[in-house]
């Protein structure tokens, strides 16, 4: 996927040339390249392709030899000769210096921001080595491609395919509704065909009934009978046509909704299965738009676009054939300009598209002001800038309005002109037809001419649809791409086919040499090992960014370890049924998340069948019962979006009640009391003490005093388990990290 993205979008090699790689590895005595990066700027700041490769013992810089066909000048340096790695960052040009002893440069390369991720990987490994730690990435191609493609993949997690392939994939969602689709299409075909008959009947009546009757060639009685039959046939035809139109509209709109519903359901189900890494890449708003607006746009396409486009093609073709059959001379006059009209509508759409982009840009400048100043209204008022902001808004609003009015000018000019051209064609038909109707030239009956004129009025609608076909298909494929992008994303954490269920979970947790890197290279955890017995309370402490939260994220299996293993009751976490395992796991977070709903719904979120008595007992254990009873509608009070009607401490106690009711065997407390006042903290602390009894608990806290009762404290620093022991044991270490942190906090109090 990443290599495809590089090839399709970036126009640089998706991997190091095989010949160069082989040569470097040969120079290194067969040692493999661990990492490599493309230096896309030369020393004169011109774009080019040089490569920096990193092995276990060497670093090599490969520069292309000018005037040769892929020859390289390779300079290798022993890693032992590198004493420091430095980067000079610039706006778009960065330079990486590998510094040799005495400060002399061993190697230096320049590159744009695009390559920075790949160079940071190399820099990280070298820095780690200089600090005495070994990191040996295993798949250089994958790591390089991931680093280079990441910005594009984060913006668009797919390689845009051909429109036809996307449309075909979308149409496959119609398969379960074949019967309705066939009926809908048949009804639409009936509407089209039935529309072609009345003009013919009109001409027939005029030529075969009215004129012969007027000229006395047809007895009045027979003429009346024929006329009534024709009128009855026309009436019947209109009934059939409108019935078919009703069937078509009803079936296709309902069918479109079914397809949109199926897509929404599949999409939401897929989103729910995605790992946390996916949600950190995608904005919430973007995901919501895909489930709502994009599927709605696809409904429009399936319900009307598919049928309208195909039937308009049939209609235009049918009209052309009928007109040419009725009278090929007049038929040519009428049909020859049709491709020109379609092209003009297409061109008009393209011009509008450029204007729409311009309007969108100017409109976003209007919304920028709104999204800046409305949330920041206090600052605006405090600095007395209301008048300036109003002026800014007025200028941008006027600018956007001018642009929108240009669009109105364009379409209000184009469509009357197009209709004028269509009417001019009709006038041309008259000009050609009149001499013939009056007896000059090839004879033309009035009936045929009337039929002809009626048919010409039917040209406009399908021309309009065909002209806008490209735009319709573009919009649909764009939405389909956005939907399929999500559907094609694979969750990073997946259960194996024979996943194990632990019943019951006892709560022993073992970290065995666990390493973890979010990007596969830069390790956040480095060989962390510990063994926690069921019922232990473990306090995780250490500086911010040290890896504490990563430990609990891995324990919750939000991510899989990069190296080593995590075992619960002796079973590797990757072998467990994740859903069942998480049922045994509880979390109380620093900023508890409450859903829009009642207090009751929120407390029994993990156990919807829990009795009301159990809910009250859980709330009592969480010191939440009293304040809940004081709420307007007690447990049935709606807490509002994210629980905004409650204070932080109240939300926290509801989340503790939720965890109590869930009755997990392993409990994670992540800064559960850090954002509340002292009195609330005391109440929460009491609730937590009841909650943790009899469970294996991992508690992260910055206020070290809250962890005095922990069975053991683990000090996590720079991704390692730096110290472990009880509060007393760790305080007794004269130069210990925990002691230093503890004394620092005491001084601040």
């Amino acid at each position: 996927m990443d290599q495809q993205i590089i090839t399709r979008y970036i126009g640089q090699p998706a991997s190091m040339p095989a010949g160069l790689r082989a040569r470097i590895e040969r120079d290194w005595g067969g040692q493999p390249i661990h990492l490599y990066a493309l230096a896309d700027l030369d020393h004169a700041l011109m774009l080019g392709h040089s490569w920096l490769a990193l092995g276990a013992d060497h670093v090599a810089l490969a520069l292309p030899i000018p005037g040769t066909d892929g020859d390289w000048d390779v300079r290798s340096v022993a890693r032992t000769a590198i004493t420091a790695v430095r980067e000079s960052p610039g706006l778009s040009a960065n330079t990486l210096f590998l510094v040799a002893p005495h400060g002399e440069p061993a190697l230096s390369v320049r590159y744009t921001q695009r390559q920075r991720g790949a160079f940071e990987n190399i820099r990280f490994v070298l820095d780690e080595a200089l600090a005495g730690r070994t990191v040996a990435p295993s798949d250089a191609d994958r790591v390089y491609a991931a680093a280079v493609a990441r910005p594009i993949r984060d913006a668009q997690a797919l390689v845009a395919g051909r429109e036809s392939v996307v449309i075909l994939r979308l149409l496959r969602y119609l398969a379960p509704y074949r019967r309705q689709l066939t009926l809908g299409l048949s009804a639409a075909a009936v509407v089209t065909l039935a529309s072609l008959v009345p003009p013919y009947l009109a001409g027939y009546l005029l030529d075969r009934v009215v004129r012969p009757a007027q000229e006395g060639r047809l007895p009045r009685g027979a003429a009346m009978t024929m006329a009534w039959i024709a009128v009855a046939a026309m009436a019947a035809l209109y009934v059939v046509r409108q019935t078919a139109a009703h069937v078509r509209l009803r079936l296709m709109s309902v069918l479109g909704e079914f397809v949109a519903r199926d897509l929404r359901a599949e999409l939401y189900e897929h989103i729910q299965r995605m790992s946390l890494a996916f949600f950190s890449r995608k904005k919430t708003g973007s995901l919501i738009t895909r489930v709502t607006a994009d599927t709605d746009r696809l409904w429009e396409f399936v319900a009307f676009g598919v049928v309208d486009v195909s039937l308009s093609l049939v209609m235009l073709l049918g009209l052309g054939v009928v007109l040419l059959t009725l009278d090929w001379r007049l038929g040519l006059v009428m049909t020859l300009p049709v491709p020109l009209f379609c092209w003009l509508i297409y061109r008009h759409g393209e011009s509008l598209n450029a204007r729409f982009i311009r309007t969108w840009r100017k409109w976003s400048r209007v919304t920028d002001i709104l999204s800046d100043t409305i949330p920041g209204i206090r600052v605006v008022k405090a600095f007395n800038q209301e008048a300036r902001e109003i002026d800014r808004f007025v200028v941008r609003n006027d600018d956007a309005t001018d642009e929108i009015n240009e669009i109105h000018k364009m379409w209000t000019t184009f469509w009357p002109l197009l209709m004028f051209a269509v009417h001019a064609t009709t006038v041309l038909v008259w000009l050609f037809a009149l001499p013939r109707l009056l007896g000059t030239g090839h004879p033309l009956s009035p009936g045929v001419f009337v039929s002809f004129l009626l048919y010409t009025t039917m040209f406009v609608a399908p021309i309009e649809v065909i002209g806008q076909m490209v735009r319709t298909i573009n919009r649909a494929t764009s939405s389909a791409h956005r939907v399929f992008e999500i559907l094609d994303s694979e969750p990073e954490v997946r259960d194996t086919g024979d996943a194990v269920r632990l019943t019951p979970v006892r709560g022993r947790v073992t970290f065995d040499g666990v390493t973890f890197a979010y990007d596969g290279v830069r390790q956040v955890l480095r060989g962390v090992s510990f063994d926690v017995q069921p019922g232990e309370l473990i306090g995780l402490v250490g500086p911010s960014g040290g890896g504490k939260s990563t430990v609990v994220s891995l324990l919750a299996r939000f991510y899989d370890v990069t190296g080593g293993a995590i075992r619960v009751d002796g079973v590797d976490l990757r072998q467990l049924d994740t859903g069942h395992y998480r049922e045994q796991l509880g979390m109380v977070l620093q900023d508890p998340y409450l859903f829009h709903g009642t207090v009751l719904d929120n407390i029994r979120y993990g156990l919807p069948g829990a009795s009301l008595g159990a809910v009250i007992a859980a709330a009592q254990a969480a010191n939440a019962h009293d304040f809940i009873c004081k709420l307007g509608q007690a447990y049935d009070t709606v807490v509002g979006e994210r629980g905004h009607t409650l204070s932080g401490g109240e939300r926290q106690r509801i989340s503790i009640a939720r965890a109590v009711l869930h009755d997990p065997r392993i409990l994670i407390l992540d800064e559960a009391t850090s954002s509340v006042d002292t009195e609330t903290e005391r109440e929460i602390q009491e609730a937590l003490e009841r909650l943790i009894a009899g469970r294996t608990v991992f508690a992260i806290a910055h206020r070290l005093s809250t962890l005095r009762r922990a069975s053991r404290l683990f000090v996590i620093e720079e991704g390692r388990l730096a110290e472990a022991g009880t509060h007393g044991e760790l305080l007794s270490k004269s130069d210990g990290i925990y002691r230093r942190l503890y004394e620092l906090q005491l001084q601040l109090q």
Binding site: G11, G48, S92, F97, E104, A155
Partner: protein, 166 residues
């Protein structure tokens, strides 16, 4: 390691600042006979790119702030200007060949003064007008592309850029 911040705003002090280009091409500040390797950060890369230059060491601590390079001794000024060329480098677009919209991204193909380049922007990211004129585009990877005079580019470039220029 020297960490002193020395605002060099008065010419007399600025003249005292000695800058050199070291053998690896990096800029160094000479302090009390010691050399401190620094990088240049422009405080105002677009409003005033050649003045108010912050010199920072490897830990990103400010070693000196040069308000006006003209106040430096000629050799120091040359060294600073050389480093500034690297620090302020952005890709200068000379011709726009293609702009295509795809799902979530806009794909640009351009000729720059440094060679041909394909890059991507988010669909709702727009080129920014610069104080001294011209446009600045930031791609999804963070690289910057400057169009110094979009109105004077060739006809096709102007047509392609029309939607993005006021």
């Amino acid at each position: 390691m020297p960490q002193t911040v020395t605002p060099i705003s008065e010419p007399a002090i600025a003249e005292a600042l000695e800058l050199r280009t070291s053998s690896d091409g990096r800029l160094s500040v000479m302090e009390d006979g010691n050399s401190v390797t620094v990088t240049v950060r422009q405080c105002f890369p677009w409003s005033e790119p050649h003045r108010h230059l912050s010199l920072r060491d490897d830990d990103q601590a400010e070693v000196a702030l040069v308000d006006d390079p003209a106040s430096l001794a000629p050799a120091s000024r040359r060294a600073l200007e050389q480093a500034l060329a690297d620090a302020g480098f952005v890709l200068e677009v000379t011709r726009v060949l293609e702009i295509e919209e795809e799902v979530e991204i806009r794909q640009w193909t351009v000729d720059t003064a440094h060679g041909r380049r394909l890059f991507q922007t988010h669909l709702d990211d727009w080129p920014r007008s610069l104080p001294a004129g011209g446009l600045l585009i930031r791609d999804v990877a963070g690289d910057l592309y400057r169009l110094a005079a979009p109105h004077q580019m060739d006809r096709k470039s102007r047509e392609l850029l029309w939607a993005f220029v006021d």
